[in-house]
C-alpha cells in the first residue's frame, strides 16, 4: 500500500509549525500506524532530516503515551483503539492522511506530534487518590465489595490518560478523564471518606489548568480508546452538587 502523509512539524512550543508532506511507500496492511511512521522516520534519517517526534512506549494500548489526530479524529478511524493499535488495514491504498498533535490550550506542543500532558497529572495531584499509609491496612477480604460495584469501578479505572477525550472535545474539556478517576474511587467503599472533597478539588484543578467546560457533546466517549462512558460525567456532576451543598453548609 502507498500513502501520502501530511504531518504537523513544529520545533518547539514557542515557534510556529506547519504541515510537511511525505510519501509512505510499500506499506503492509498488517503494519501498525506507528510502524508505518517508524518507516517514514528511518527514511527521513537516511535523507539527512530529523525524524517526526511522536510519543509511544507500550505499543499495545495501555500506557497512554501515543496519541495523534489522524484525519481529524483522535487515534484515527477505527474506534476503541489507541494509535499504536491502529493498523494500516483500516486505510485504503492511496489514501491521504493528515496527522496532527492533540490540540488544546492545556496541552502545549513540545515538538511535532508530542504534547505536554502534565496538566492531567496535576488533576490527580489535587485529590485523585485514597489517603492510606503503607502498612496500615486491614486484611483485604475484611472488606466485602459487591461484584457489580467493583466491575463498574474497573470500567472507570481503565482510563489510560492519553488525552484523546480532550482532543476530541470542542471545548477541550478533560471532564471524562476527571470523571473516570472520581468515579473509580467514589464507587468503592474505600473512597467514601474523601469522596466529596476529592471531586471538588479535582474539578477546581481541572478548570485552573485551562481545560474547557463540559457541555455534553459526548465526543470524548467516541474518541476514548477504552470506551469509557459519559455516564461517569453525570456521576461526577451529581457528586459535585452534593459536594457544593456540603461545603456551603460548613
Amino acid at each position: 500500500m502507498n500513502f501520502t502523509l501530511h504531518v504537523w512539524r513544529q520545533d518547539g512550543p514557542e515557534v510556529p509549525g506547519g504541515f510537511e508532506t511525505y510519501e509512505a511507500r510499500d506499506i503492509s496492511e498488517h503494519m501498525s500506524f506507528l510502524e508505518m511512521l517508524d518507516l517514514v522516520n528511518e527514511g527521513l534519517t537516511h535523507d539527512g532530516h530529523e525524524p517526526v517526534a511522536f510519543e509511544h512506549d507500550c505499543r499495545e494500548g495501555i500506557c497512554g503515551s501515543c496519541g495523534m489526530m489522524i484525519n481529524g479524529v483522535p487515534h484515527g478511524p477505527k474506534g476503541m483503539v489507541a494509535t499504536c493499535q491502529l493498523h494500516m488495514r483500516s486505510f485504503r491504498d492511496g489514501d491521504e492522511i493528515w496527522i496532527e498533535p492533540w490540540r488544546a490550550t492545556a496541552f502545549p506542543v513540545l515538538r511535532d506530534l508530542a504534547v505536554d500532558r502534565g496538566a492531567l497529572d496535576r488533576i490527580i495531584d489535587a485529590g485523585g487518590y485514597i489517603s492510606v499509609r503503607t502498612g496500615s491496612p486491614q486484611d483485604a477480604n475484611a472488606l466485602l465489595i459487591r461484584k457489580e460495584d467493583a466491575d463498574l469501578a474497573m470500567d472507570a479505572a481503565q482510563c489510560i490518560g492519553c488525552g484523546a477525550c480532550v482532543a476530541a472535545c470542542p471545548n477541550a474539556s478533560a471532564m471524562l478523564f476527571t470523571a473516570a478517576k472520581v468515579s473509580h474511587l467514589g464507587l468503592l467503599p474505600q473512597g467514601q471518606p474523601e469522596r466529596y472533597t476529592r471531586v471538588l478539588d479535582m474539578v477546581t484543578q481541572h478548570d485552573r489548568e485551562g481545560f474547557g467546560n463540559c457541555t455534553n457533546h459526548g465526543a470524548c466517549q467516541e474518541a476514548c480508546p477504552k470506551g469509557i462512558s459519559v455516564d461517569f460525567i453525570a456521576r461526577l456532576n451529581r457528586d459535585l452538587v452534593v459536594s457544593t451543598w456540603k461545603t456551603a453548609g460548613d
Partner: protein, 637 residues
C-alpha cells in the same frame, strides 16, 4: 569486589521479622534532613517513593517518561501472586516460597524468597486499601486464578490490566506525596550516570529530555528501580523505552551485575507478522488456564485449525507433562514451542506459531464466562491480528519478556556500592534462573512498599546528616563525561540509523544468547558484538542537536549501552557451563531434553565486575546455600 549477602541469622521464618526489629530507625524530626533519589516510577520506584515520602524523607524521583503513570509496569496483564490462601486450596507462605525457589531452578536465595512470600500478603491488603479494583466473586470476596508453575489458585487480578491498576495505585500514592510536598517528581529526565563520592553513591546526572540540559542531583542514597533489559533483543514484549542504561552505567561505576544471562522467554506472545515488526505483544499467560496448546501432528500441515480433526492434533504439553500440562513453567513451554516450530509443525502464514485453543473451554463454560475472564485479551488479539479467538484458535510464540538478572544486591537490596539500592526488575534478587508468572509485580511492590523503606532507613541512620553538596568535584566530572558522550553520539554523523544497529544486535542475541545457547555460538557472539559496537561508533547517524527534544539521541545512548552490556550477558552465558531454568545450554540437557543443572559447580550467583571498555569483565561468585528446600530436579510431569 566484596559480596556479603548479609542474610540475617536464625530460622527462615523469623529472619525478616527479627531483622526488622534489629534495624535502626531514623528519628522523625531527622528524616527530612535526608535526601533520597529514586530513579524509576514503575511499581518498584513509585511504591518506594510514596512510602519514603510518607515516612518523611526528602524524596526526589526521576523518570524518562512524560508521566509517572507510564512506566512499563502499566502493561502487566495477568496478575499478582499472594499466599493468602483465600481459596482454601492448601496455599501457604511456605508453599509460595517453595514454588518460587523450585520455579527458579534452585538459583535464588532462600531468605529473600521467603521474605517475598511473607510480604505478598501485605501487598494485597495495601492495594485493596488504595482502591485497586481487583476482580471479585459474587459474594464480594476477592477472586483468584491460577498461573503457570503452581497448583493452587493464588493470583489476584484486575481483568487483564493488573499491572495498570497496581501501578495506578502506587502512582496515586506517589501523587499524594507530591501534593504533600515530600516528593519532588522530575518527569522527562533520563538518568545517564551515577555519582560516587568516596566510594558511596551520592547522586546522579540526568539529561532533561525537553531542553537537553545536563544536570547533577545529590542525595544521601540513590535508588535504582529502572526495570529490565529484555530490549537487548530488540524485539521483546517490553515497552519500547525499556533499556539497560541506568543499571549499566551503575555497573560501569563499580556495581556488580548479577546473572545477566538469566533472561526469560515468555511462551505466549503473538508471532511476528513481518520484517517491520517493532515489538512483540504478550498474550497473558493466564490464558493457559483455559486454553489448550497444540500443533498439527503432520509437519507442514497447511490446513486451517477447524479443518484439522482431533486425532491429528498434538496437545504436546499435555502429552509431555500430564500433571501440569498447559500450565507448565515458562521456560519449558517456550522451548517446547520452539521445538515444534523448528520441526515444521508451525502454524499461521509464516509458520511461526503454535495454537492456543479455547474451543473446549467455550464449549464447557460458555462464551460469557470466557469473555468475563479474558475479554480484553481476546479483543487485543483481534485488534492486532484481525482474527477472532472466539472462533479460531490464537497463534502464539515465545518472546523475550523478563530479565531475572540485574544489579547484585544484598538482603537489604543494597548493591556492593554503599548507598546504592536497587529494586524491582532492575535487581537480580528473587527469581533465580526463571521467574514464575505473576511474581514480578509481587516482587516490585514488596521491594518498594516494604523492604527498601526499612533497609534504607537503617542505612541512613548510619550516614552523617549534613547535606550532600553538588559542589564536590565528582559531580562536575561525571556531568562533563555525560555531555561529552552525548556530543560524541551526535558527531559520528554516519549513514545508518540507530534502529538498524539495534536490530542487528537483537538478531545476534536472539540467535546466540536466546532461548538456547551453546559454547560455539556464544564465542561467535563475543566476536560479533565488539565489531558491531565499533561500527556503531563509526557509522551511526543521530540527527538534530543535544539541546532539543531529540528522540534519536535518546535511543542512540540506550543502544550504545546495550552494545556494551550484551557482551557481559554472553560472558555470563558462556561461563555458566550448565543449564538451569531459562538458561538453556544445549550441551547440558537431560535425556528428556530438560535443563540439566550442575549443582556441584554452579550453585552460585555469578556477579560481573566491569573492568573498562574493551576489557573482559571479571567474575565473582556468591555461593547459594539451601537449608530449607531439598535440591531436586524440577519435574512437572
Amino acid at each position: 569486589m566484596q559480596l556479603d549477602a548479609k542474610i540475617p541469622a536464625g530460622p527462615l521464618q523469623d529472619k525478616w521479622t527479627k531483622h526488622r526489629f534489629d534495624m535502626k530507625l531514623v528519628n522523625p524530626a531527622n528524616k527530612r534532613k535526608y535526601d533520597v533519589i529514586i530513579v524509576g516510577t514503575g511499581l518498584a520506584g513509585a511504591s518506594a517513593a510514596a512510602t519514603m515520602g510518607e515516612l518523611g524523607y526528602n524524596v526526589k524521583v526521576f523518570t524518562f517518561h512524560d508521566s509517572a503513570r507510564r512506566a512499563h509496569s502499566i502493561a502487566a496483564q495477568g496478575g499478582i501472586n499472594a499466599a493468602k490462601n483465600y481459596q482454601g486450596d492448601g496455599d501457604s507462605i511456605f508453599r509460595l516460597f517453595y514454588d518460587t525457589v523450585k520455579g527458579g531452578d534452585f538459583r535464588s536465595r532462600e531468605a529473600n524468597v521467603y521474605r517475598l512470600a511473607e510480604l505478598s500478603l501485605n501487598i494485597i491488603d495495601q492495594a485493596v486499601a488504595q482502591g485497586v479494583p481487583f476482580a471479585r466473586e459474587y459474594g464480594g470476596l476477592l477472586a483468584n486464578r491460577s498461573f503457570g508453575g503452581a497448583q493452587v489458585s493464588r493470583t489476584f487480578y484486575a481483568r487483564g490490566q493488573t499491572g495498570q491498576q497496581l501501578l495506578l495505585g502506587a502512582y496515586q500514592a506517589l501523587k499524594r506525596q507530591v501534593a504533600a510536598g515530600t516528593v519532588e517528581l522530575h518527569t522527562r529526565h533520563e538518568m545517564l550516570d551515577v555519582v560516587l563520592v568516596d566510594g558511596e553513591a551520592r547522586g546522579i546526572v540526568t539529561r532533561d529530555l525537553v531542553s537537553g540540559k545536563v544536570e547533577s542531583h545529590a542525595a544521601h542514597a540513590v535508588v535504582l528501580a529502572t526495570g529490565g533489559y529484555s530490549n537487548v533483543f530488540f524485539l521483546s514484549t517490553n515497552a519500547k523505552g525499556c533499556n539497560v542504561t541506568a543499571t549499566w552505567r551503575a555497573a560501569r561505576r563499580g556495581a556488580g551485575f548479577a546473572n545477566p544471562c538469566y533472561t526469560q522467554i515468555h511462551p505466549t506472545s503473538i508471532p511476528a507478522s513481518g520484517e517491520y515488526q517493532s515489538k512483540l505483544t504478550l498474550m497473558s499467560e493466564s490464558l493457559r488456564n483455559d486454553g489448550r496448546i497444540w500443533v498439527p501432528k503432520k509437519a507442514g500441515d497447511g490446513r486451517v485449525a477447524a479443518d484439522i480433526p482431533e486425532d491429528e492434533r498434538d496437545y504436546y504439553l499435555e502429552r509431555f507433562y500430564p500433571s501440569f500440562g498447559n500450565l507448565s513453567p515458562r521456560d519449558i513451554s517456550s522451548r517446547r514451542a520452539k521445538e515444534m516450530v523448528d520441526a515444521g509443525h508451525g502454524v499461521g502464514p509464516l509458520r511461526n506459531g503454535v495454537f492456543l485453543d479455547f474451543k473446549h473451554a467455550i464449549d464447557r463454560l460458555g462464551s460469557p464466562v470466557i469473555s468475563e475472564r479474558y475479554g480484553n485479551l481476546f479483543e487485543m488479539y483481534e485488534k492486532i491480528t484481525g482474527e477472532d479467538p472466539y472462533k479460531t484458535p490464537m497463534r502464539i510464540y515465545p518472546a523475550p519478556h523478563y530479565t531475572m538478572g540485574g544489579l547484585w544486591v544484598d538482603y537489604n537490596l543494597m548493591s556492593n556500592v554503599p548507598g546504592m539500592f536497587v529494586l524491582g526488575e532492575a535487581n537480580f534478587s528473587d527469581h533465580g534462573a526463571n521467574r514464575l508468572g505473576a511474581s514480578a509485580l509481587m516482587q516490585g511492590l514488596a521491594d518498594g512498599y516494604f523492604v527498601a523503606p526499612a533497609t534504607i532507613s537503617n542505612y541512613l541512620a548510619g550516614v552523617e546528616r549534613k547535606p550532600v553538596s553538588r559542589d564536590h568535584a565528582a559531580f562536575a566530572d561525571v556531568e562533563r563525561e555525560v555531555s561529552e558522550r552525548t556530543q560524541r553520539l551526535l558527531d559520528v554523523d554516519g549513514t545508518r540509523t540507530v534502529d538498524e544497529f539495534h536490530i542487528e544486535l537483537g538478531r545476534i542475541m536472539w540467535e546466540k544468547c536466546g532461548m538456547e545457547r551453546n559454547e560455539a555460538g556464544l564465542k561467535e557472539a563475543l566476536k560479533e558484538i565488539p565489531e558491531l559496537r565499533a561500527r556503531f561508533w563509526k557509522e551511526v547517524r543521530v540527527p538534530g542537536s543535544g539541546e532539543t527534544f531529540n528522540q534519536s539521541l535518546e535511543k542512540a545512548g540506550r543502544v550504545a549501552d546495550f552494545l556494551e552490556f550484551a557482551e557481559v550477558m554472553c560472558h555470563d552465558a558462556l561461563a555458566r557451563d550448565e543449564s538451569c531454568g531459562a538458561h538453556y545450554r544445549s550441551e547440558h540437557t537431560t535425556e528428556e531434553g530438560e535443563a540439566k543443572r550442575d549443582d556441584e559447580n554452579f550453585s552460585h550467583v555469578a556477579v560481573w565486575e566491569y573492568k573498562g571498555e574493551g576489557e573482559a569483565p571479571v567474575l565473582h561468585r556468591e555461593p547459594l546455600a539451601f537449608e530449607n528446600v531439598k535440591l531436586s530436579t524440577r519435574s512437572y510431569k
